[in-house]
Amino acid sequence: MSASDEVVTVDARRLLCPMPVIRVQNEVKKSPPGTRIRAICTDPGALSDIPAWARINGHKIIATESLDDEHIITLEVGEA
């Protein structure tokens, strides 16, 4: 299975920013390029913070969606 087939889930519910970003950052650090990481958050701030963090650090946002009070952001780890 290639790295891009894997989806790692980060449960960042109840955490306030920047903790969801920190959780994602920690997961990215141990993941090879191409890995997909799906962060589940309840802080709506994560909808802007995680994409901003991904943009400046060279990762790609694949999708963002909000369901009731949960926000799901999926990114693909870029080259270091």
């Binding site: 519910r13 109840r14 306030l16 920013c17 920047p18 903790m19 970003v21 920190i22 950052q25 920690n26 309840t42 802080d43 709506p44 701030g45 909808l47 802007s48 913070d49 901003a52 963090w53 943009r55 400046i56 650090n57 060279g58 009070d69």
Partner: protein, 347 residues
């Protein structure tokens, strides 16, 4: 081939650190940002919780600054290590529980660890002599450099000309003459430099970026330590101190009462860690009970919660009591008259 020197900038999200980082980028240095998260950082937390603030733009200023400067930003989780700084600050506290000087020393020390691990050459901060009464004074600048261990690897671009030359200046990695000599509390030089760099938008100084500089928050944290008999806390504890009304009618327990819907939702996330109360006969807040309850205390807490509900003038208000294991029961109480809520209960 000329070496590409690299600097790590402490980025708070404010204007000074933004200017300092840009000033060094202008000299051809590669800069990445570091932002330390202690758990007490103000950055948008209560705005994220409160419903009335839900439509306000949410932006982490450190991330925003990094994006404007086109640099990477690394968050560093220092929640656990920061406890020692807060419990035993060598240089004492500021007006409240803010150990500003020890905090700065700690962050520069962590930045030094980071540049060693990541093969960067020096550290920059947005400090300005005289800008802050506790941590940014002429006398404290060398203390921070010395006690952090950074020494000459710590460069403050905005006031460098008022300080002895650091290693990057001595070694010619950067041009000292192109640095600045800002000092004092005036913001005019920063505003002028921002204009020169074309920064039309930046976070305004808002009296500190840390809850520990807040009088009311410090009272609540002191109360938490006193009630537990020790200076201990977990991240959830210090987050909860930012939310709701905190009332302590007895030394053994306190009631955390949401002030609006957003806070109620946030507190609901803790219902498996605390006994909770919610009015059912009338619209009203959600409350968490923290501590050991004696017989009669639950009724007192329920009467307090009823007081903050739409049924405050009703003869009886019904509440659902939810235990940590999810079992529930109904309680019917008379709302506590305002005159019986003692002034000292509110933290």
């Amino acid at each position: 081939m000329t070496k590409q020197y690299k600097a790590a900038a402490l980025i708070s999200g404010g204007l000074d650190s933004m200017l300092a980082a840009r000033a060094i980028q202008e000299q051809g240095i590669y800069v990445e940002g570091l932002n330390f998260f202690t758990g007490f950082c103000v950055e948008g937390h209560t705005h994220a919780i409160r419903k009335k603030d839900q439509n306000r733009p949410k932006r982490n200023n450190a991330l925003w600054v990094a994006e404007q400067l086109g640099m990477k930003l690394h968050f560093v989780d220092v929640i656990e290590e920061y406890k020692e700084v807060l419990f035993n600050p060598k240089h004492g506290y500021g007006a409240h529980l803010n150990p500003c000087l020890d905090c700065k020393i700690f962050m520069v020390e962590k930045a030094l660890e980071w540049i060693k691990e990541n093969e960067f050459d020096f550290i920059i901060t947005g400090e300005v002599i005289g800008q802050r009464p506790k941590s940014q004074r002429k006398e404290t600048m060398p203390v921070i450099a010395r006690e952090s261990g950074a020494g000459g690897l710590l460069l403050r671009p905005l006031c460098a000309k008022n300080l002895p030359a650091t290693i990057p200046e001595q070694e010619g990695w950067i041009d000292r003459e192109a640095l600045f000599d800002f000092s004092g509390r005036t913001r005019k030089p920063q505003m002028a430099l921002a204009e020169r760099y074309g920064f039309t938008e930046y976070a305004q100084p808002a009296g500190g970026c840390c809850f520990l500089t807040d009088a009311q928050y410090s009272v609540k944290l002191t109360d938490l330590w006193k009630s537990r008999g020790s200076k201990a806390y977990e991240l959830d504890d210090i987050m909860l101190l930012k939310v709701g009304r905190h009332l302590r009618p007895k030394p053994e327990f306190k009631v955390i009462i949401s002030r609006e819907e957003g806070e109620g939702k946030f507190l609901q996330g803790y219902k498996n860690q605390y006994v909770s109360l919610k009015t059912t006969s009338h619209a009203g807040p959600l409350a968490l009970l923290d501590g050991q309850l004696e017989p009669g205390d639950l009724e007192l807490a329920a009467r307090m919660v009823a007081r903050y509900s739409q049924g405050r003038n009703a003869e009886q208000v019904e509440l659902e009591v939810r235990e940590k294991d999810g079992t529930t029961r109904t309680l019917s109480v008379t709302p506590l008259p305002p005159s019986e809520i003692q002034k000292g209960w509110l933290l």
